[in-house]
Amino acid sequence: MEELRKLELKRTANSVRHGIIDGVYHATCGHPGGSLSIADILTYLYFEHMNVDPKDPKKADRDRFVLSKGHTAPALYSVLAHRGFFPVEELKTLRHTESRLQGHPDMKGTPGVDMTTGSLGLGISAACGMALSAKISSDPYRVYAIVGDGESEEGQVWEASMFAAHYKLDNLCVVLDWNGLQIDGPITEVMNPTPYAEKFTAFGWHVISIDAHDFDAIEAAFAEAKATKGKPTMIIAKSIKGKGVSYMENKCEWHGQAPKEEQYLVAVADLNKIDEELK
């Protein structure tokens, strides 16, 4: 990837992170850690890769995206807002009673949200349904989904994985956000779902392992997924939970709580510093 484009993506991703922190802070609750870990991949998908149009969010030939780990809605909302689906200012209404931005994604309420999610394990199946539908009617759109590493403890993730390989859904690309932490602790201690690459390979997927914060690797992985025929692709993305906010990085307790005012100011300062470095 050329350096200027990469720099622009990094700047956008940092703006997305600002939006995540602003949203969760104003909500006084929510899930910052796992939102920050997927900010780079979501930025790449919405700003570089997927065929979407903010002016026509429901256009029939758009690529679809399903946030199977629905609790990280702040990241999806922030990337949608920065992409122009709705005003960035609206992020501050996250989780408020009058807001279009529900605690978990609501396809009927928010422009750009393709599937209602939040209950873990259900989104990847819905993504399979979308991909199968495209196959049935020979539609060219592709389907993307992000599944959480903790989420992969849900049996339905593996039911869906069987299904996707069985029906050769090569128009489906799923990202597994491997930040290593879930509510009760490290995933390997709570209920070890690893090894991932071996399991998804055995389930019949094309598997690519990347650093979730390396735009060169992200670009190469999505290109490889698109070129892969006859099987779905699983991108296992090793990420840092809380990425970009110093005190949140790799800290389990930042899975599901909002920063207090002084913590919010530190988070903003951390992200401002990254903005400065990217100037």
Binding site: A60, R64, V66, D106, M107, K108, D114, M115, T116, G118, S119, G121, L122, G123, S125, A126, A127, C128, G129, M130, A131, L132, S133, A134, I136, S137, D139, G155, Q156, E159, A160, M162, F163, H166, Y167
Partner: protein, 313 residues
């Protein structure tokens, strides 16, 4: 005597015939031979998708298909479609109000020999609590066919309840039979007691009315094929006229037709209501006629309860 046919047979036939006229897809979870979606599969293999024994995934896959504008029918046994996959039905289909049709077969005690694990006696209660869900329990083959087409043409999630056991096709003998979602059908007018029935218990209620007539009791019989939205006005008007109600369903008396009728009448027309159905218990293996006796799903029991209800006026 009307011909006997299982409502699941009519469901399979309806899918296969309607498949010529309408563009929809069918999903099953390794039960196509039993649910009768296999009839559609044989005719339209390119529109049929087996999901294997994974009902939760199947329901969410159907939701994903529906987001793209196609209409999926999904089938399994009632216990699995409504029970195993309840949360998928609620969150993947119900909450976003997606256009998915759930064709659940082998509902109730008439599953017979397979026993309690496979006899779904709670499905209508489970599905009825989901906002926006339409719940239909056809009385017989003619109604099952009509309900399948009505569900297809209805925009929104629908739960269709079918049985394994062959039942008399009463609707085929009605002049000008017309099926409309949410509209109950008065099968027999009467003035002394109202028998509100659903599924094949409509047939039992008609027999009960005949038994009551022998004793000079004039029963009104209403077929409530749509449990939700309930035709509360029709039921309340009848209750106001007769002053006593008996509900009859092949389902738990908790949360199904009996529950729904009590909820409606407590607000619209409080009166004695007795509920015939499975009395807060599990089923068991056995031959269907014997099970119907054991669980009181008979014309005789409906007639007895009717007399008790009248006595409570």
């Amino acid at each position: 005597m009307a011909d006997k046919k299982a409502t699941r047979e009519a469901y399979g036939a309806a899918l296969a015939t309607l498949g010529e006229k309408y563009d929809f897809v069918v999903l099953d979870a390794d039960l196509a031979a039993a649910t009768k979606t296999g009839v559609f599969k044989k005719k339209f293999p390119e529109r049929f998708f087996d999901c294997g024994i994974a009902e939760g995934n199947m329901i969410s896959v159907a939701a994903g298909i529906a987001t793209t504008g196609k209409i999926p029918f999904v089938s399994s046994f009632a216990i699995f479609a409504s029970g195993r996959a309840w949360e998928q039905v609620r969150n993947s289909i119900g909450y976003p109000h997606l256009n998915v049709k759930i064709g659940a077969t082998h509902a109730g005690i008439t599953v017979g020999e397979d026993g309690a694990t496979h006899q779904g006696n709670e499905d209508m209660a489970l599905m009825r609590t989901i906002p926006g869900m339409t719940v239909i329990c056809p009385a017989d083959a003619t109604e099952a066919y009509a309900a399948t087409e009505a569900a297809l043409l209805h925009n929104g999630p629908v739960y269709l309840r079918f049985g394994r056991f062959a039942v008399p096709d009463l609707s085929s003998e009605l002049a000008n039979y017309k099926f409309e979602i949410g509209k109950g059908v008065v099968y027999k007018e009467g003035k002394d007691v109202t028998l509100v029935a659903t599924g094949f218990m409509v047939h039992q209620a008609m027999e009960a009315a005949a038994l009551l007539a022998e004793e000079g009791i004039d029963a009104e019989v209403i077929n409530i094929h749509t449990i939700k939205p309930l035709d509360a006005d029709l039921i309340a008007a009848s209750a106001k006229k007769t002053g006593a109600v008996v509900t009859a369903e092949e389902h738990s008396v908790i949360g199904g037709l009996g529950g729904a009728v009590c909820e409606a009448l407590s607000e619209l027309c409080p009166c004695p209501v007795l509920r015939v159905g499975v009395q807060d218990s599990y089923g068991r293996s056995g031959r269907v006629p014997e099970l119907l006796e054991i669980y009181g799903l008979t014309a005789k029991n409906i007639a007895e309860q009717a007399k008790k209800a009248i006595a409570k006026k």
